[in-house]
């Protein structure tokens, strides 16, 4: 029965979710149509100025795509994005012009041989002329920009996101100042002269707009591709998990600092590349071209198109660029005409072109208040469940079918807590706690509210620091490890107040749980070699299998956003997410809270099955019937101290426990406990 449930009801979402190119078909078509239309544009519309404006718009689209990785995917606000644009621009600008002319020494011979420099005769002695090829400059500028991204991101990414905003803003201010003041390197405020135009197989781009348009278009297409590939990978899921809930992400094995830095670096690399393109096209660069308004403008593009939406930000960028260069003037003329028609003096004086920055401000506020997902949202709402799916008879799943979970037979305790103390200011949340969980056992932790149960979980999983003591997982010390490392060692948890990634699907949530078990890196995600494909396919299969534990409660909803699920289903997703990480110890914080009695029994049954498969379980639970039916051992906490420990039956009769739970009048309460 159970296995049948997983196969039949999972059939529909499976087909869709396993298609590795996760872009829905309709969007792919739109994308292809857009690229074809753009590619034909210079041919059909042979106007140099419009082609040039198009190339500029496309350059801004690449910038928006880069910022989207930082702001849209990873949820980090970068207000100095133009700085990386500047770094990329000056990289090519300086290395392909006459700005630097050091004296010629034999040191430069190998570079000359590589055609990176030329020996230029001068009256006062030969000098070096830098002649870096545009095509080499693209990756070089990307790397240099990424390097600075890491350099400046690293100190702040440990802090909350807000500080990053202000530090990036500062960085955005500093870079143009340095460009202005360091005039021997950058020619300062006067601007660079003599930047070489790109060459390709002997063809000089010169000043025609067309070749630049096609380079810009190729860059947009490339970056759209890269964005999609990253988004639909282990890396992209981790970014979005960070965006949705940092703490849950790190508890599910995501190394926050590393992935944030990666997002920051990749975003910076996009901007660096675009900078090189931009300066090659203009053949000049001044510090004024990279000020704060540019950073805000790119942010407006991302916000308008839709944060996190790859196609959205491209549309946002192109829309705003065209708005500036074409529509606003027409609209103003039209408004004036209307003003003359109705005799309104005010309308005749309105100048939309002048008010463009005001319009930007209004776009930012209005989008944030009324349409945060942008014009083209990143995730469309999946189709509602069919009537049959919604009203289908509840089929309970089973963990029995879960393949690849083998119990560990060892005498080393799964979890061994010794003398752990946690203090918040003057408050002692845990005082020298000892706890042993045997491998393959189920231990319940009970106690009144505020007794330190969740703190015990937090300290075990690295979310809270302990003052002393030791926590060993299968004999290995884990106290002091950051959360993602604790998960990697094999302790996964759920949270009392459910911490899912609300805007991700059930499937993606569960896939994030596997983060620590997958290997794919950014490059692998982009190239998607057979190994990556295989890994991703296996990850999805495993995720569906784990989701299948809960029968048809979750499986038909695998592609729904978790924010649309019922409370009980969210609990199930959180448990599935934890199980997906293939833990050796599973820590469940009030798993049945908010469930009705039937659901509670069902879940208790499923937990028991997991235990039968060999998984060690630590459980915080208030419902004592659940505790009694599952736990082999019960630990009672009160005011941060261990009050009692023993078999459920023993604990239930313990005077001290009754007192703690029910006050002095213990006799009356014993009935309730039974």
């Amino acid at each position: 029965m159970a296995s049948e449930a997983t196969t039949t009801t999972a059939a529909v979402p499976r087909r869709r979710s396993f298609a590795l190119a996760a872009t829905p078909r309709r969007r792919q078509m739109i994308l292809v149509a857009f690229i074809v239309a753009a590619a034909l544009f210079p041919i059909l519309h042979n106007n140099d100025a419009d082609i040039d404006a198009g190339a500029n718009a496309l350059a801004y689209a690449t910038l928006a795509l880069g910022l989207n990785i930082v702001v849209g995917f990873a949820g980090l606000l970068d207000l100095g994005y133009a700085a990386f644009f500047a770094i990329g621009a000056y990289t090519y600008g300086i290395l392909s012009s006459f700005q630097l002319e050091p004296a010629w020494t034999p040191f430069w011979e190998p570079f000359a041989w590589l055609e990176l420099v030329q020996r230029m005769p001068q009256p006062g002695g030969d000098v070096v002329h830098f002649t870096l090829s545009f095509w080499l400059a693209l990756p070089l500028a990307a790397s240099i920009a990424a390097f600075f991204g890491v350099l400046f991101g690293a100190p702040t990414l440990r802090l909350k996101g807000d500080y990053l905003a202000i530090v990036t803003l500062g960085f955005g201010e500093i870079v143009p100042i340095i460009a202005r003041n360091w005039s021997s390197l950058t020619s300062g405020a006067m601007g660079l002269n003599g930047i070489a135009a790109p060459h390709l197989f002997g063809f000089n781009f010169g000043i025609d707009a067309e070749p630049y348009f096609y380079v810009a278009l190729s860059m947009v297409v490339l970056l759209i591709f890269v964005s999609f590939r990253l988004r639909d990978s282990r890396i992209g899921r981790a970014w979005m998990a960070i965006r949705e809930d940092e703490i849950a992400a790190s508890a599910m094995g995501v190394d926050l600092a590393r992935l944030k830095l990666l997002a920051f670096a990749i975003g910076a690399a996009f901007a660096g590349m675009t900078g090189t393109f931009y300066v090659a096209k203009l053949q000049t660069a001044t510090p004024e071209m990279f000020g704060f308004p540019v950073s805000v403008m790119i942010l407006v593009m991302v916000v308008l198109g839709g944060m996190g939406s790859v196609l959205g930000v491209v549309v946002g960028a192109i829309l705003l660029q065209l708005l500036q260069s074409w529509f606003l003037e027409d609209l103003t003329t039209w408004l004036h005409a209307l003003g003359r028609l109705v005799g309104s003096d005010l309308l005749q004086r309105v100048d939309l072109v002048e008010s463009i920055e005001l319009i930007f401000g209004i776009i930012l506020v209005v989008m944030m208040l009324f349409r945060r997902q942008g014009l083209i949202p990143a995730t469309r709402r999946p189709a509602a469940l069919s009537f049959e799916q919604q009203h289908a008879e509840v089929r309970r799943g089973s963990a029995i079918g879960l393949k690849g979970f083998s119990g560990e037979k060892t005498d080393v305790p799964a979890l061994e807590v010794r003398g752990v103390t946690v203090r918040f200011g003057g408050l002692v949340a845990l005082r020298s706690i000892d706890l042993t969980v045997p491998a393959g056992g189920v231990v319940a932790v009970i106690g009144p509210n505020g007794s330190g149960k969740s703190t015990l979980f937090n300290v075990t999983t690295g979310l809270t620091r302990a003052e002393g003591g030791s926590i060993k997982l299968f004999g290995e010390e884990i106290l002091g490890l950051p959360p993602h490392k604790v998960l990697a060692r094999g302790a996964a948890r759920t949270f009392q107040n459910i911490r899912l990634f609300p805007n991700l699907t059930v499937l993606d949530n569960v896939l994030v749980g596997q983060h620590a078990r997958l290997r794919t890196q950014a490059l692998g995600a982009v190239l998607r070699l057979p190994r990556t494909r295989a890994e991703e396919r296996a990850a999805r299969e495993w995720a569906m299998e784990v989701i299948g534990i809960f029968g048809n409660r979750l499986t038909p909803r695998a592609l729904q956003q978790v924010s649309s699920l019922s409370y009980a289903n969210r609990r199930r997703v959180e448990i599935a997410r934890a199980i997906a990480s293939r833990p050796r110890v599973l820590l469940l914080d009030e798993p049945t809270a908010g469930m009705n009695p039937a659901e509670t029994i069902e879940l208790a049954e499923q937990i028991k099955q997991l235990h039968t498969l060999g998984l060690t379980v630590v459980l915080i639970e208030h419902k004592l019937d659940v505790v009694t039916s599952l736990a082999q051992n019960v630990v009672v906490l009160d005011h941060g101290e261990k009050l009692a420990e023993g078999l459920p039956e023993e604990v239930r009769r313990n005077e001290a426990v009754l007192t703690a739970y029910l006050g002095r009048n213990a006799g009356a309460g014993s009935a309730a406990l039974v």
């Binding site: 905003a165 530090v167 005001l358």
Partner: protein, 309 residues
């Protein structure tokens, strides 16, 4: 000018700047302490405040550079100007909170911060489009008394800035420490959930924070005008960024920290200009910001931001 006189003079300059930064920094710190929000609209609430002050003075018949008041009329005019400017700016801050930020209060991520950037742009451009881009003369009714301290010169208006700023900041400090609402503010900053459960009206606390912060920014705008004798649509950005740095330096969320941070940034700016070059001022200030964040993220005097898990 001896080195000592020079240092004294630059200290006087730095204290005047610092007083203004401190007034602005308080607004950042109050709002951040409670909402964990970097309020970029604060930059231009300050700028709008300086224009409101300009119009108020003009409405009181003080325009041009020639009207110089003394005694009671001066006190009266200044009190009226401060009152009108601070109330208007305060209400502007409340309106910003009410209209654009309250609906986003429970929205995660950068949405609220982006909104404040939008509001900042809107304020900036409304003034630019209505008043124009050139800087406007700001009337100065203060007598131009100068005191010679060694080789350094201390002007009456500088003393005024220090006194007024100090009074306002002390007032705020006492309010936060002693009043019921102030205590509610601190409670909310510590733990909004617990505060709510203890019967604190969080909405009221937030509105108060916006009102006070913005009113102080408005006062800063008026002081700015009196000190520099001009105002312009552009004054918010640089001053705002430096004030924010001051708030971080002092420990964001920490009221006395913001005051000391403001003064420190003022002094750093003048000493940096003296001994390095004003061309590098922003680089120096932002380097300090980054260094503080790296080595002492809680600022010099610790933060009062909530510790949520």
């Amino acid at each position: 000018m001896s080195t000592f006189d020079l240092l004294l003079q630059q200290t006087i300059n730095g204290l005047s700047l610092g007083a203004m930064y401190a007034l602005l920094a308080l607004g950042f710190t109050l709002v951040y302490g409670i909402l964990e929000l970097i309020n970029f609209s604060h930059f231009n609430v300050f700028m709008v405040g300086s224009f409101v002050a300009l119009w108020t003075l003009q409405a009181l018949g003080i325009s041009g550079q020639s009207v110089i008041l003394t005694g009671l009329p001066l006190v009266g005019v200044l009190l009226a100007a401060f009152a009108v400017t601070m109330v208007f700016s305060g209400l502007l801050g409340v309106a910003i909170e009410r209209i654009s930020l309250r609906p986003l209060r429970n929205v995660k991520g950068p949405a609220a911060m982006i909104t404040t950037i939008g509001v900042s742009y809107i304020l900036f451009n409304i003034i630019l489009l209505t008043v124009g881009a050139d800087s406007k003369n700001f009337p100065n009714p203060l007598p131009t008394a100068r005191f010679q301290i060694g080789g350094a010169i201390l002007e009456l208006r500088e003393i005024l800035i220090w006194v007024v700023s100090l009074v306002l900041m002390l007032g705020l400090y006492l309010f936060v420490q002693k009043s019921r609402l102030g205590k509610a503010m601190r409670a909310t900053a510590q733990d909004p959930e617990a505060a709510r459960m203890m019967g604190v009206e969080v909405d009221r606390v937030i509105i108060t924070a916006f009102f006070l912060g913005s009113a102080l920014a408005g006062a800063g705008g008026l002081i700015f005008g009196l000190y520099y004798n001009f105002t312009s649509f552009i004054i918010g950005f640089t001053a705002g960024l430096r004030a924010f740095t001051a708030a971080v330096l002092g420990g964001i969320g920490n009221v006395p920290g913001a005051m000391i941070g403001g003064v420190l940034i003022g002094l750093i700016e003048t000493m940096g200009g003296q001994f390095i070059a004003t061309a590098w001022t922003d680089v120096i200030i932002f380097s300090i910001l980054v260094l503080v964040l790296v080595f002492k993220p809680t600022g010099l005097f610790g933060t009062l931001t909530p510790t949520k898990s």
